[in-house]
């Protein structure tokens, strides 16, 4: 579904991605884990066209989307739930979701928008309760749900989530991760970027480990969970507990 080869990008004179190669098959949950500043957000922003790639190629459904602007990429079905939610704070929950379906507003698919709105409300009943409230007044967890719901309104083939668990209580994180599993069972493909490596590898099929702009390790979620380096660096286990 998504195939990235030797991708390089950065900001100004700062080179962040140094030849990233990853792929995601249709129907998979793939996770990318890595320390702060390793370039995970930059990778997602480069895929969605917010940051311009400098080299390499990005194929989405066999089509080269490298260098396209964000609005065209999302119209092709590649949608990002950005880090820090980025909901439209001064607009209502309902309006946020309607804007989420913007790409479909001029096509024949627009008839299905009300139906999708209902299905997002079914997935997140709290959003339905709050649908007239300004998004900026929602709690962090509710904003995360709204950001996911808004992304779903575009009917994306691939959903990329950038640290959905950031700053949320464990019980909300659990709920969000259950939703992600549910999305996959509804036919979505998911790329999940997380600091919370344990939770992410718990639901993922495969994973990549990123360090200073490169992929240093890849494998199935099981392999990564069992890997000593991963355990030490990202799962918070020290040598002793690994030895036991």
């Amino acid at each position: 579904m998504l195939r990235i080869r030797n991708l390089e990008s950065g900001y100004g004179s700062l080179k962040v991605l140094r030849g990233v190669t990853i792929h995601i098959n249709s129907g998979e949950i793939v996770t990318i884990i890595g320390a702060n500043g390793s370039g995970k957000t930059t990778l997602l922003e480069t895929i969605t066209g917010i940051v311009r790639p400098r080299a390499g190629e990005i194929l989405y459904k066999k089509r080269n989307i490298s260098g396209m602007p964000p609005e065209r990429i999302v119209a092709l079905g590649c949608s990002l739930v950005p880090e820090g939610r980025q909901v439209f704070a001064t607009m209502t929950v309902h309006e946020n979701l309607v804007i989420g379906a913007y790409t479909r507003s001029s096509g024949p698919d627009r008839e299905n928008v009300p139906e999708d709105l209902e299905s997002v409300y079914a997935l997140f009943p709290i959003l339905k309760e709050r649908n007239r409230q300004l998004a900026g007044t929602l709690s962090g967890g509710e904003q995360q749900m709204l950001a996911i719901g808004r992304s779903l309104m575009a009917r994306p083939g691939l959903i990329m989530l950038d640290e959905p668990s950031m700053g949320l209580a464990p019980i909300i994180v659990k709920h969000i991760f259950e939703i992600i599993i549910q999305l996959r069972s509804r036919g979505n493909t998911i790329l999940l970027v997380e600091q919370n490596a344990k939770a992410a590898l718990g639901i993922a099929d495969r994973g990549y480990v990123m360090e200073t702009g490169s992929i240093v390790l890849e494998g199935t979620a099981r392999e990564l969970l069992d890997n000593h380096d991963v355990q030490r660096a990202y799962l918070g286990k020290d040598y002793k507990s690994i030895g036991e």
Partner: protein, 296 residues
Amino acid sequence: MSPDNIVQYLISGITAGSIYAIVAIGFNIIYNTTGIINFAQGEFLMLGGMISITLAQFMPLPAAILAAVIITAGVGFLIELVFIRWIDSPSVLRMIIITIGLSIVIREAALHIWDEKVRALPYFTGNEITSIEILGARFSPQVLWVLGTCAIIVIILNIFYYYTLTGKSMRACAANRTAASLCGINIKNMVSLSFTLSAAIGALAGCVISPITQTQYDCGATLAIKGFTAAIFGGLGSSTGAIVAGLLIGVIEAASISIIPLAYKDAITLTLLLGILFFRPGGIFGSREAAALKEY
């Protein structure tokens, strides 16, 4: 001051104030989608007035006004296309220089096209001596045209912003530009639209005030300063703020005439502007929470 006088001052203050409010709304439309102040906003009013005055010699007044609005909107669109669109990440200073430069160019062009004569559109109803009585004070019916037009502009803008998808998309751009483009909104097109829209509104305002205030190639600058003061006073980006602040400035100005010489009228607004910038740069409605909401 007799009661009649108070009504007189109040109504002329509200009339001037509603124009300031419309200019301020023009500033806000562009500020909200781009984060920049378009210092050429006053020139849109001048262009609307001048073009309609010229066209009114060849066609009925309503047609001339409509054509002037459309032509000025086209100018706004072209300005964005030629001078703003290609700038990738505009710095505030750069945009200030560009828009001030544009205002000078438009003014000079107007001087060449029309010369420096003061002109005016004919009164929409009656002529300069027709008057109507409101609460004992006498007014030109044009005052009602101005007030009505401003009210209609505000109502239509609100319907546009809150009930149409394009309007909502413009608000989404204002709230969070990156997120808006992630939802599939073409930001550059929204910026073009905001320039077109604010030029059109400016031109319409320029037409309705022309019979009262008259139009000259350089009349945009004063209007822009008044409107800018209203926009800052009301809190940049807030249309409710713009309306309240615009009316307030109009009334303060009108009242000041009865106390200090007429020549100082414009100084009042400038003093107000400096005062606000010093003591309350967020404006009367620019509360902390609203500012925080807007960023996140």
